[in-house]
Amino acid sequence: MVALGEVDALFDPGDAVARPPRAWAAGRLRSIAWWRGIVLVCTGAFFLIPLFAALRFSLESFSGALTFSAFTAIPTQPGFTAALSLSIHLAVVTTLITLGLMVPTAVYVHLRLPRLRPIFDGITILPIVIPPVVLIVGVLQVAPTSLKGTPYLLALVYVVLAMPFVYRSVDAGLRAIDLKTLVEASRSLGGRWPSTVWRVIVPNLRTGILSATVLTVALVLGEFTMASLDLYQTLPVWIYNFFLSGNGHVSTAVSLLALVVTWLVLLVISSFDLRRIRRMAQARRDA
């Protein structure tokens, strides 16, 4: 804790003048580092203590002994494989549809309608502020009849939910490149639109697209409300129902496992780009 006098001293111009500037700056940095450490510990505790409690609970038998039985029993639980498969399926479909819609839209807005970018920013943030029930009703109104009654309807809802994150990720990626010049260079070399998008735009949007994919996969694998309202047994819904049916230890173990698996998937996706960033940084240093 910084004493009141120390804080005052930090902002006291007379003190700052009296001390050598470098020493003053070093003292200030130490103070910031100290506060940063406290924030980090508090945040870590906030996230890790519940996880630790959940892990302990899932490892405890009724007798109080530690056992992995809750984890080893997961694959044989009724409905687990179907729920996991559905969640993964929905994550893939949602990601493909969202990227398929948002990448061309963001590219078009950047190239042809740059003045409308603030409006698109506003529109794409709507799913965050609109209640989920309203979204479901909206999607039901416009969804093709053939999709109603299938889990793909849920994917459409997820597409709407993921839109703000995906649009922003792609938009940030587009802002980082000179899109107009790259597209014009491609066209002047004979590149048609599909080639330009596939060979020039998408590879240079890799970071944005990977961020969008990470966010969409995380959203779909963890989403509960929509799936529950639509009565589909995705993994989160299955975990909740399984918990209600008196299988607390196993459902908690599944939750933890799902968390770890999701985290690993996100890590793998991110590492594609990390490797590229490191390679580019190394190349820059070499140059």
Binding site: D178, T181, A185, S188, R199, M280
Partner: protein, 376 residues
Amino acid sequence: MAVTASDRRHSTDVVGAAVEMTGLRRRFGATQALDGFTLTLQPGELVALLGPSGCGKTTALRVLAGLEMLDAGGVLVDGVDQARIPAQKRDMGMVFQSYSLFPNMTAQDNVAFGLRMRKVGAQARRARALQHLERVGLASEAAKYPHQMSGGQQQRVALARALAIEPRVLLLDEPLSALDAKVRLQLREQIRVLQTRLKITTLFVTHDQEEALSMADRVCVMRAGRIEQVDTPSMLYSVPATPFVAEFVGTMNRIPGVISGDRVRLLSTEAAVRPSTGAPSGPYASGTPVDVFVRPEGLAVTPSPQGGGTVVTTTFLGSITRLGVLLDEDVMVYVDLPTTADPVVAGSAVEVTLTERDVMVAERAATPGAAGSLTP
């Protein structure tokens, strides 16, 4: 730069197209970017579009490339109307001002991109890309990504990429403006050598008059979407058609004078009024005050205590030294002397005389202080 076998082959079989741009008009909001722009390029010719920022030179180039729509007018390439031909089918190589290499591709892949779009087989396009990189002296950098190369190298790769598709017209949109002076000079030479060797019709946009004058067969000076003059660099410099061209190209003194019959009086002497398109539609009446345009090399100084001029600045410019002379009535003129001539020091009293026999005149500028000014 080495002449490759490919160069020799190309020097005989690659000939640029004839380009005709007629009555081009393009408006962006309140700005008339092109206002009846008409220009013809002969096959194999390098024409520079020169003008201040916003004069429409890049718009004209982009219209030719098919990257900009037209409000009116037409573009013919080898007699074929380009109105309905999209950019990707025009066969025009383009080098942009900003580094436009694809960041996700190596130099070789960048150069091969246009060939890939033309369905050239993988091996053939790699070989041809390497040839073109060799042509710009960058074969050893073929495997490098754009971020691993300097700005000059990137623009050379961009040039190789534009040439690799064997374009009928080469479009250069201020390709040297982002480079430092030394690299700019080298690349300027390289572009000119390649263009001459390959005989590609080239339109080169620049706001740098030195670049335009040193590289182009003809220079087209533009202002406010219109052409002021199209001519060879030497004619543009020695016989400017308008006061704007006179002041925009090279260095020009604007000295007050008075019309006397078909001559003009200035600096205690007289000179014939040069006929030019920028001259008044009819002869000026005797006694009309005018501005006379004279290059610094068209003036001379002689030491004279009663000469009416005082040297206030001397600037060493290599083979010449430029004197700034303050005349009576606060008129400042600049005079170029060979550096080897007798040195004239600041503070010397001199007489400034005219060495040209005929001069260009224009109506006296209304702006105070405009007369006697120098346009560098």
